[in-house]
Symmetry: C2
Subunit: 379 residues, 2 copies
């Protein structure tokens, strides 16, 4: 499933910059999907090759890929791989099996079931096996491209937030705090929370990002710091505990985070600890925006704290920290052996703490009326 990224290094990366999407179909072999093995970042850039729906599901389960939009995209391509590998007679059954397997990989991100449902609906419209395969590939490709385009638009709709902050203290960088990785690596491209940051940086607005480490898996330290570094966006790594202090002392202009699921009332599940940053932003009068595409919304849910399923993960993510040791990948235990652990992957930030939600259709207040105005097709 994995290979060293030497070729990709030469082909896709240039001048030490990450360019292009974080998941793509092989140009020569449409039964092969490439993505980056995010477990090895920032220490090694390795590609993962996905050839079956099971490999796509495994990549999601084992966190080779993570981030709500990217696991949606991986599931879309996973269905395509299921269709490619299936016998004509088994196609419907294999697609249904792959859909169930992919949706069950992780419980919190809405994008997963949203994407799978759309691809499966397109497959159901097919008349022959070949027609179904074509429709699945078309749907998956279109959804992946649309996911990248949604993030690009989130960047455009979020840009005025940074422009406004820049105007408040001309010549000074706009200080954005972000939690976890809602960047290119969490999406097909651009990122959600990072999209306005990259766009501001490209437009010459000075921007500086406070990067939360994001225990237990350190996606901020490992992934956000890496991709911001690749794109030469100034940033400073801090422990998750530091954000409140920074906000108390006027060091944060704006908080931008992603989301894994947002209810119709605007409650947003995101990486565990996001709620604490929202509280600190609220306490210090700092704007707190959630950036997410349509696929992250779950209009069937109202109250996020009680209704959004929160994933519980393995204890060893808490008892051990993975990184780079003397000679390569390594990990250390940080607590006594046998220590009992609880490991919740996400928390829910109530809408009352969210200044606004930046979507590909514009910025909404975090309330049902504002969101329905952006998404009138919601049931």
């Amino acid at each position: 499933m994995f290979k060293r990224a030497a070729l990709w290094h030469e082909g896709v990366m240039s001048a030490n910059r990450l360019a292009g999407p974080s998941i793509w179909l092989d140009p020569q072999d449409s039964g092969l999907v490439w993505t980056i093995d995010q477990r090895r970042l920032p220490h090694e850039v390795r590609l993962a090759a996905l050839r079956t729906a099971a490999e796509a599901a495994e990549a999601i389960c084992t966190m080779v890929v993570r981030g709500a939009p990217l696991i949606g995209a991986t599931a879309a391509y996973g269905l395509h791989l299921a269709a490619v590998r299936a016998d004509d007679r088994a196609l419907d059954r294999d697609l249904r099996g792959a859909a169930a397997m992919l949706v069950s990989t992780r419980p919190t991100a809405k994008d997963l079931e949203w994407t799978v449902a759309r691809v499966m609906a397109r497959a159901a419209e097919g008349t022959t096996p070949e027609d179904k395969r074509r429709r699945v590939l078309e749907a998956a490709t279109r959804l992946v491209e649309a996911s990248a385009e949604a993030c690009r638009r989130i960047g455009e709709h979020g840009l005025p937030l940074l422009e406004a902050a820049a105007q408040r203290h001309p010549g000074q960088p706009v200080n954005v705090l972000t939690h976890c990785n809602a960047g290119r690596l969490a999406c097909v491209d651009h990122g959600t929370a990072t999209a306005p940051i990259y766009l501001a940086h490209a437009r010459g607005i000075p921007v500086h990002v406070w990067v939360d480490e994001t225990r237990p898996r350190n996606q901020g330290a490992a992934l956000t710091a890496w991709e911001l570094g690749q794109c030469r966006v100034p940033h400073t790594l801090v422990v998750d505990n530091a954000g409140g202090h920074l906000m108390q002392h006027g060091r944060v202009d704006l908080v931008l985070v992603g989301a894994d699921r947002i209810t119709r009332r605007g409650d947003a599940a995101n990486k565990i600890g996001t709620y604490l940053k929202a509280l600190a932003a609220f306490d210090n009068g700092i704007p707190f925006y959630v950036c997410a595409p349509e696929s992250t919304f779950d209009p069937a849910l109202a109250d996020g704290v009680t209704e959004i399923p929160i994933e519980e993960r393995d204890a060893d993510e808490v008892t051990h920290v993975a990184g780079w040791g003397e000679g390569g990948p390594s990990r250390v235990r940080i607590c006594p052996e046998g220590t009992r652990v609880a490991n919740y992957g996400f928390d829910v930030t109530p809408a009352r703490l969210i200044t606004g939600i930046v979507t590909e259709r514009g910025v909404a207040r975090a309330d049902e009326a504002s969101l329905r105005a952006l998404f009138p097709e919601w049931p």
Copy 2:
């Protein structure tokens, strides 16, 4: 300065339980102070032997000892070691030098200068070198004993908070969340935040502690989990990001934390991230108590956020995580090489978020009038 704790293991520890104080004079050699090398916990129990004031200062600087009351006690004994080692003619000069050196080791904890000032005042009352040495030893010993006794009383004054919680759901454990290590290892004995917990546990009140990992140095994972385990107090380790989620879901009855400096208005500096937990407790209507002895208060200060000095520490505490690897102590890098870091050691929780402050004299509201009623001798 260090030796393996084999003897101490047999002598002071019994039945795998930590017993007795965390710093003590050698019974045979009054020019020798023993403490535990907390950098090795929970993986190895090693003692550190302090024979000079410089060694005491080094032990504070290098975090062999940490925790506001314990660094106060270490400084008190450090002055005693300075007095023991000094020539008669150099005694006053060496004591002044040692006092300046010890106070300069770390900026935030008030206990350090509070304790040093008291020992130095006693030394100044001496008439001969021998009399001064005797007074320094007496003062240091008395302050260290008083520090342990203050924590014991904090336990008694805090106990009703746990008893009240236990009565609200009989038969269920009282869930206390704590941040960092404000335990026996942070003090001479009992701990500050842990004193009510240990007392409740001893009195048969079922108690369960949510232990915040406490990045960057992981004092919760390494020290609090260890000492609660030694004393068989049920506990669960969580990442610093998790507390808000636990509180939203009714899993926390009470937050108890220590402090490094408290202003006369009740603003409390404590380990970075404490402010975020106070915000979450406030948002969820959960009592949030700071536990601290007299030595931690700084009545000269009013506004904690602007007036309390906050220590900035080395970047490698953030870029690397220390723990136990395959064959022994090890550390891993968790971010790209060269990542810029900010590392603030403490934050300030405003009095408005603090339900009360538990001291050796009783529980005060976090306001100047209530605190002055407990400490009428304040200027």
